[in-house]
């Protein structure tokens, strides 16, 4: 039995895949932006010498990092409507879940990033009269972010792969697009194979860019 790819046409891509691809990419970008933002706040809370900030932050991060993502996806899907008192679509549920989940991972990266910046940098900021928030925002975090850029991007590639887990709540992403096309044309094996190739090409070329970026940063330093 050979693979018959003749069913794969631009029409099919337009009808089944583009919408899914757009959702996967948007979900990745939103979860990345939100995840880095909240992750940075979590990292700062964790590094704080105030226990009432550090403990809850550490607890949240460790909890998120200790459970399978697919469980969190299902759990949030059931929990959020209960919390806000009305049903919420699979798409919004996915956005909220991925942001919350990825925050934990990005926070560990940003924590390492903040620690990679010499302590004297924050002190120099304070000595000039900058507040804690200003020292972080203007002095420490830009350097932390820059030092961690390759790792942050690598995490984002993993995030893109993980977005396929929204199948669990029935959201229509890139993988779901392939699956639906496969069902419609009765070609599931070919559809999943193509899906794998597409994910591979996207992620492999992105990690190639990260490697190039890493080399360039190594030269600059």
């Amino acid at each position: 039995m050979g693979l018959d790819l003749s069913f794969f046409t631009w029409d099919l891509a337009r009808n089944f895949l583009i919408g899914g691809l757009i959702f996967s990419v948007v979900l990745t970008l939103v979860a990345m932006t939100g995840g880095i933002f909240f992750g940075t706040l979590l990292a700062l809370a964790r590094l704080s010498d105030r226990p009432w900030l550090a403990f809850p932050a550490a607890g949240y991060v460790n909890a998120m990092r200790s459970v399978p993502l697919v469980m969190v996806i299902l759990w949030f899907f059931l929990l959020i409507p209960f919390l806000i008192g009305r049903p919420i679509g699979a798409e919004w549920s996915a956005v909220i879940t991925f942001t919350a989940f990825e925050s934990a991972y990005y926070s560990e990266i940003m924590r390492a990033g903040v620690q990679s910046v010499a302590r004297g940098q924050a002190a120099a900021g304070f000595a000039l009269g900058l507040t804690y928030a200003q020292s972080m925002r203007l002095v420490v975090l830009p350097q932390a972010f820059r030092n961690m850029l390759p790792v942050l991007l690598t995490q984002t590639i993993i995030l893109f792969q993980d977005t396929s887990l929204v199948y669990a709540i029935g959201a229509y992403d890139l993988l779901k697009g392939f699956e639906t096309a496969g069902k419609n044309f009765n070609r599931p094996v070919e559809a999943y194979t193509l899906a794998a190739v597409v994910y591979f090409v996207i992620c492999y070329s992105l990690s190639g860019s990260v490697r190039r970026l890493q080399r360039r940063m190594a030269v600059v330093r």
Partner: protein
């Protein structure tokens, strides 16, 4: 200008400062010296509350540093500090290093801040480096930029923590020259340094620390003439050998 009264400080169980008292009057240059690990850096950081203290009191220009109600950022903006390892912001250009706090803390306009920065860069002989980044400058140049950055805030007093000890020998003088000029202009200065030539030239008083204590606080003439404590004599004989 700076008053340190009966200050004690602990890192955990380790007492790093033991009942230290010292003062720096307006326009005075006080050099703080002593063996490594004696608590000099810690003491000078306490002056602008970069380190908290457990006992005693510090005031700067009459403002109690140790009072929890004191607006620390506002106070620190009036006290310049120069670090052993420069601590220029590597992601910002020299110009941005000099204008950041002027704009964000003193709320100067960008034009005012730029003008001030260029004037100070001129003064430390680095105007032509304004657009470079710290990593492109030599250690001596970076430390001169760091001094200019502190001066851009129009400080009431300047704190120096071993500003030349991370420098290659041939760059020490370019930094000391800037400091001497500053002293001659009447800047209030508290300098942790082992540069005894600098101390002889501009210091009014010398404070000698050992083991977290201020062992000696003497006029320059007395300190170099005949230090009273044995520990100070030993220290001087060691560092004046070379």
């Amino acid at each position: 200008m700076i008053e340190i009264r009966n200050v004690s400080k602990w890192f955990g169980a380790f007492q790093v400062l033991k009942d230290c008292s010292a003062r720096v009057d307006k326009g005075e240059v006080v050099v703080v010296c002593g063996p490594s690990g004696s608590g000099k850096s810690t003491l000078i950081k306490c002056v602008n509350a970069l380190e908290p203290i457990q006992e005693g009191e510090i005031t700067v220009a009459g403002i109690p540093v140790t009072d929890p109600k004191t607006d620390l950022p506002k106070l620190r903006a009036k006290v310049g500090m120069v670090f052993q390892h420069f601590e220029l912001f590597p992601h910002l250009s020299i110009m941005q290093n000099l204008t950041l706090a002027q704009v964000r803390v003193l709320r100067r306009t960008r034009e005012e801040a730029n003008e001030k920065a260029l004037k100070l860069l001129d003064r430390v002989g680095l105007r032509d480096q304004a657009q470079k980044f710290p990593g492109q400058l030599s250690g001596g140049q970076q430390q001169r930029v760091a001094i200019a950055r502190a001066l851009a805030m129009d400080p009431l007093a300047m704190l120096f923590d071993e500003p030349t000890s991370a420098l290659d020998p041939e760059m020490i003088n370019e930094v000391l020259d800037v400091m001497v000029e500053l002293a001659h202009e009447g800047m209030t200065m508290m300098c942790v340094t082992h540069e005894m030539g600098f101390a002889r030239k501009v210091a009014h008083r010398v404070v000698f620390m050992d083991g977290g204590e201020i062992v000696e606080d003497a006029s320059k003439e007395d300190f170099f003439g005949k230090p009273r404590s044995e520990r100070a004599q030993l220290f001087l004989s060691k560092i004046l050998q070379h």
